[in-house]
Amino acid sequence: MKFSTATATVADPYLDISTYEADADLMVLNLGPQHPSTHGVFRIKLYLDGEVIVKAVPYPGFLHRGVEKLCEKLTYTMMTPIIDKNDYLSPMMNEQAINMAFEDLHGSAVPRRAKYLRTIFAELQRVASHLVWLGTFGVDLGGALGGGTTLFMHCFREREMILDLFEEVTGCRFHYNTHMVGGNRHDIPAKWAKGVHRVIGVIAERIDEYEILLTSNKMFVDRTKGVGVIDAELALSLGITGPILRAAGVDHDLRRDAPYHAYDEVDVRVAVETAGDCQARAIVRILEMRESLRIVGELIDNVPEGPINGYRPTKTPLQVKITKGQGYACLEGPRGELGTYVIAGGDNRGASPYRLKIRSPSLHAMSCLPYVLPGLTVSDTIATFGSLDPVMGEVDR
C-alpha cells in the first residue's frame, strides 16, 4: 500500500479566524444552505476581500437524518432501503458496503454469480454517478440557464440508459434495495447482457466527446486548470480518497489494492493524474468511466451460472442474526473509500447492530475546503466545490 504517514503540515485555517475577524473590511457571505450550487443543503461561510476569499468555514449537517442511529433499531434486512438514500447517486454502492460488512461478521459466503453481478452493478453505478457529476459540474460552471444545462441534459440522457438497465433487473430506477446479506435479491433477466453491450457502446462513444470538451474547450480549460489544487499531502492528511486522491498523483484504488467482489478476476487499470486541480479531477473521472465500461464489457459475457444468494426463496424477509463481533468493510465508491464499521449484538435479539458507522468519502473530500478555497474567487469556489463531487445525503447521513 502507498499510504504516507505524514501529518498535515498545512496551517490550520480555523486558527486564523481571529486575525481576520478584526478586519472590518471583509464581507461575510453565507453561501448556502439554500443556494443553487451547494449540491443540496450545505453552508460555507466565506470571508471575502472584494471577490477573493480570505477564509472559508464549511458548516455541514443540514441534511442530518440520523440514519446511523436509526440503523440500530432496524434489522440487517430492513437497513438496505434506507442506506440507499445516503449516497443517492450510487445507491447500490451503499447497499454493497453495508452488506459486505454484515457478511464478514455473519460468515455468509456470497455465490460467485452474485459477486459478478455486484461488480457489474457497481461499475455501471459508477458510470451513472460520474455522469451526474459531469452534468452538475457543467451547471456549476455554466449556469442553470446556459451551456452548462446542455451538458447536464446530455449526461442525464446517458444516465437514463443505465437506470433503464437497473430497472429491468430490480424494478426500481433509483433506490434499488437489491442487495442482501449473502447475495443479491434480483437475478438479471434473459438478454440483459445484450442491452448492457448496447448501452456501454453508446456511452463509450459519447464519453469521447466529453473528454474532448474537458481537455480542448478553451473556456472549460480556463475555468478548471490550476483551480482548487489539492496536492497529495493535503489529500492524504485529510483522508481524502477516490478520484480526488488519484488526481493528486496517488495511485490508490481499493478495487486493485484490496480486491473485493470479482475484482480479483479482472484487470483494473487505475487512472492517475498529477496536477490535482479541477481539470485533473475531471479527467480522472472521465478515464474511470471508460475503464468501468471496459470492466462491465469484460464481465458481462462471463457471468457464471448458479444461485444469486445462499437462501431458498421465501416470501418473508430473511432474518440475519449476528450476536457478537465487530468489523469494517470498505469498497471503492464513485467518491472514494465507502466503508462500514459495525458492532454486532444490538436490539431485536441480535438482528440489529449495536452501532453502525459509515465512512463517507464525501465528508472527507469536503474537509479540504478551508485549505483550498482561500485565494480563489467566488466563481472558483463553485468550480472547486463541484469538482469534489459531494453528495450531501452521504456527508450528513
Binding site: M27, L29, N30, H35, P36, S37, E51, G138, V139, D140, L141, G142, G143, A144, L145, G146, G147, G148, T149, T150, M153, H154, R157, M219, F220, D222, R223, T377, V378, S379, D380, T381, I382
Partner: protein, 324 residues
C-alpha cells in the same frame, strides 16, 4: 408628415412590436434550447406552447410584490423601470426600414452607445438598493463589466461610422447599400469589427458566456435576487429587449440594414435581426461562463487593442479611398 407626429406614431408602434417580439423570443429560446438538449420545451399552453409567454406574464403579474425590509424602497422600485426605459430608448434610432424609424438622429450611434452605457446605472441601483450581498456582488460585477466592455463596443461601432462618415444609422445603412455591407467590404476590418461588436454586445447585454452579473450558479440570481413578480419580469424583459435591439443595431451597422432583394426592406431588417438574435441563443446554450478576471483580461488585453487596430485600419481604408 410632421416630425413630431411621425416620431410619436412610430415610437409607439416600434415599442409595442419589439416588446411583443421579445415575449415570443422567450418562447423561441425555450424551444430552441430544448431542441439542443434533446427535450421538447413548452407544449401545454396553446399549440406548440405558443401561448407560453402570456401564461408567464400572467403568472408574474399575480405574484406578490415583495420589497425587502432593509431595502431602499424608492431606488428598489425605480431600477426595473429604468432598465426597460434605457433598453427601449436604444430602439428609437434604429432604422427598421427607410420609413420605420422613430427618430433619425444625426448622432444615432452616439445615442445608442450612451443609452447602452446608461444600462449600468439601473443594474447597480438594483444591486445596491436590494441590500443583499449576492445582489451587491452582482452589481459590482455588472459595473466593472459594463464599463470595460463599453470601450470595445464603441471602437467596433466607430468602424462603420468612419467608413460611412456619418453617425446616423440611416446614413450608415445607405452607405452600405451603395458600397456593400461592412461585414464583407472592406475585407478584414469590417468582419473583425462585426465579431468584436457581437462579443462586446453579448457582454453588454449580460449574455452567456458573459452573464457574470447574473451568474445563477454563483450569485443565485445576481442583482435580481430580491426581485419578485413583474419587477423581476421587467428586468427579464429588459435583458431580452437589450439583446434584441443589440442584434438590430448590429444588423444595421454591419449587415446592410434593410438592404436585400425581392422583399421590402422591413422584412430583411427583421430577418437579419432575428438571425443575430438566434446566434446569441446558440452561443448561450453552448458555452459556459467565464470568470470575472478572465473577462477583464479578455477585454483589456485583446478586445480593446483589437478595436484600436480596426479603427486605424478603417481610417486608413477611408483615406486610401479618398486619395485614389
Amino acid at each position: 408628415m410632421n416630425i413630431w407626429l411621425h416620431g410619436a406614431i412610430y415610437s409607439v408602434l416600434i415599442a409595442n412590436v419589439l416588446l411583443t417580439m421579445t415575449a415570443w423570443s422567450i418562447w423561441f429560446e425555450r424551444k430552441f434550447s430544448a431542441r439542443m438538449q434533446s427535450r421538447v420545451g413548452p407544449t401545454i399552453v396553446g399549440p406548440m406552447g405558443l401561448l407560453q409567454p402570456i401564461a408567464d406574464a400572467i403568472k408574474l403579474l399575480q405574484k406578490e410584490s415583495i420589497v425587502p425590509d432593509k431595502a431602499d424602497r424608492a431606488l428598489f422600485n425605480l431600477a426595473p423601470l429604468l432598465t426597460l426605459l434605457f433598453s427601449l430608448g436604444i430602439a428609437a434610432v434604429v432604422p427598421f426600414s427607410p420609413e420605420v424609424i422613430a427618430a433619425d438622429l444625426d448622432v444615432g450611434v452616439i445615442f445608442i452607445l450612451a443609452m447602452g452605457g446608461m444600462m449600468v446605472f439601473p443594474v447597480w441601483i438594483a444591486g445596491w438598493a436590494s441590500n443583499n450581498k449576492y445582489a451587491l456582488l452582482g452589481g459590482m460585477r455588472a459595473v466593472a463589466q459594463g464599463i470595460s466592455y463599453e470601450i470595445p463596443l464603441v471602437l467596433a461601432a466607430l468602424v462603420p461610422v468612419t467608413l460611412a462618415g456619418s453617425m446616423s444609422l440611416s446614413d450608415i445603412v445607405r452607405h452600405q447599400i451603395e458600397h456593400g455591407w461592412y461585414i464583407f467590404w472592406p475585407p478584414g476590418p469590417g468582419l473583425f469589427a462585426f465579431v468584436l461588436f457581437f462579443v462586446a454586445s453579448l457582454a453588454e447585454a449580460n449574455r452567456i458566456p458573459f452573464d457574470i452579473p447574473e451568474a445563477e450558479s454563483e450569485l443565485v440570481a445576481g442583482v435580481t435576487t430580491e426581485y419578485t413578480g413583474m419587477k423581476f419580469g421587467l428586468f427579464y424583459l429588459a435583458e431580452y429587449l437589450h439583446t434584441l435591439i443589440s442584434a438590430a443595431v448590429g444588423a444595421a451597422l454591419f449587415l446592410g440594414g434593410w438592404d436585400g432583394p425581392f422583399a421590402p426592406g422591413l422584412h430583411w431588417m427583421v430577418l437579419k435581426t432575428l438571425l443575430l438574435f438566434g446566434l446569441v441563443f446558440w452561443v448561450r446554450w453552448t458555452l459556459i461562463r467565464i470568470r470575472i478576471d478572465q473577462l477583464m483580461s479578455l477585454c483589456w488585453t485583446w478586445l480593446v487593442p483589437a478595436g484600436l487596430v480596426l479603427v486605424m485600419a478603417a481610417a486608413l481604408w477611408k483615406w486610401g479611398m479618398a486619395g485614389s
